[in-house]
Symmetry: C2
Subunit: 250 residues, 2 copies
Amino acid sequence: MNKVIDISQLKTSCKNCSLSDLCLPHGLEQDDLEILDSVVKQKTPMQAGDHLFREDHRGKAVYAIRSGALKSYQIAKDGTERVIGFHLPGELVGFDYLADDNHHCSATALVTSSVCELPLANLDRLSGDIPGLQRQLIRIMSGEMNADRDLLFMLAKKSAEERLASLLLSLSSRYQKRGLSGDEFILPMSRTDIASYLGLTTETVSRLFSHFQDQGILTVERKSISIQDGVGLRKLVTDCAGNTDNAISM
Amino acid sequence: MNKVIDISQLKTSCKNCSLSDLCLPHGLEQDDLEILDSVVKQKTPMQAGDHLFREDHRGKAVYAIRSGALKSYQIAKDGTERVIGFHLPGELVGFDYLADDNHHCSATALVTSSVCELPLANLDRLSGDIPGLQRQLIRIMSGEMNADRDLLFMLAKKSAEERLASLLLSLSSRYQKRGLSGDEFILPMSRTDIASYLGLTTETVSRLFSHFQDQGILTVERKSISIQDGVGLRKLVTDCAGNTDNAISM
DNA sequence: CGCTGCTTTGAACAACTTCAACTTCTGTGG
DNA sequence: CCACAGAAGTTGAAGTTGTTCAAAGCAGCG
């Protein structure tokens, strides 16, 4: 019996990818998908800490996350890192280079992850072949901007408690969209990353987790989260305008 | 002598517009510009308080600002308004509808303003005629996202003082790009708008203006700003990673 | 002139940070 | 397999920054 795995079977295929509805292919025609498939490359798996791209480096591609989780961040002039976003499977990362061909942030794997590379270097040529591609890209970027706006709102006006609740609900809904449990999940990022993203300190984040647990809203054990009282959690962010289920986040 | 003004002379023309370098036409070929001209409509002037579009309404176009100033904002569930951005001549507003055809924020004139309407409803058709248009739109949106990131950083990590300094420097550099003075200008927005945008209270903003004036950094008289010590002002935001001259802001 | 709305200023208060100590986890080498 | 070192997370107490509440000043406009 031949147990050798046929490499060609493993080749990336947007057509067969379970994430295609969340990803760039969404809305493309079958024919276009095949053309897209021909340019999409699956990168070798990334270990936690590996970089997908770095700030100020020339950008070559947008990346679609297949598995794992990444964060994107910038380094401030004083050397401190600030987390811009967390990225889960089905989401796209790296648009930021399209403005001037350079990345404005770095992206690194939080856990073992795999991504697909969508080389948009010569976007014009590619879009000649796939008319709907640019349109879809614009749609995704526009959605991303709206998500950023919600985050902006959060940082501008919301209390520490509301911020953490928003993040947890966002992660919950994003996991749910992938068909995973929205009530029990593992946080792929550290407390420090969460604090940086929410504009708080690790101490405050840690205290909030304890606080939520005391209130019976969550069960927290290191990185494991179990949402006990989703209604209560949602109630904490009720006063906010923006919806929190930003499926797409840079 | 015929003093009647020829209406056709007043018709919008991207070709002759002094702002074309800041606006969508930047980078387009002469032929493409003429096609763009044929679809661009100049709207009747807006009075302060007039709306360009409203949250949750169907979007029909992206708008380029010719003169005046606008703000975009969302209404939170608790009814409070939150300002998302200020928009000066040469900047584009309204991309946010491209995600799902609905606007996610409202835009209103802060002073008497005029705008050009770029109907991108059937973007696909239009981009068949102007191949570079979608590319340019993607570039602008990507730049906008990067600008939002900087703002995000500001709200997450910067002190009230740094926030106001950043805004003033941003306005200064944007006025300068239009060929106006970067050191003396009139704020088109109220203290309340500034506070909402920066995630502060009007009281804090007011105190900061007084504070800056006491330090000899600014001369402030109601809406007139005169930057006395640009170096000092810049020093206040030195520790930040993001650049503050976001020419493009949604 | 006297209203209304926007801005400024003051004093008390609350939220989050900072600093510091301690606990728990993780991985590495003996 | 255990011990140890370092990183990550938790908890407490003091300190700051910006908010809240309150009131007064000031321009615009009927």
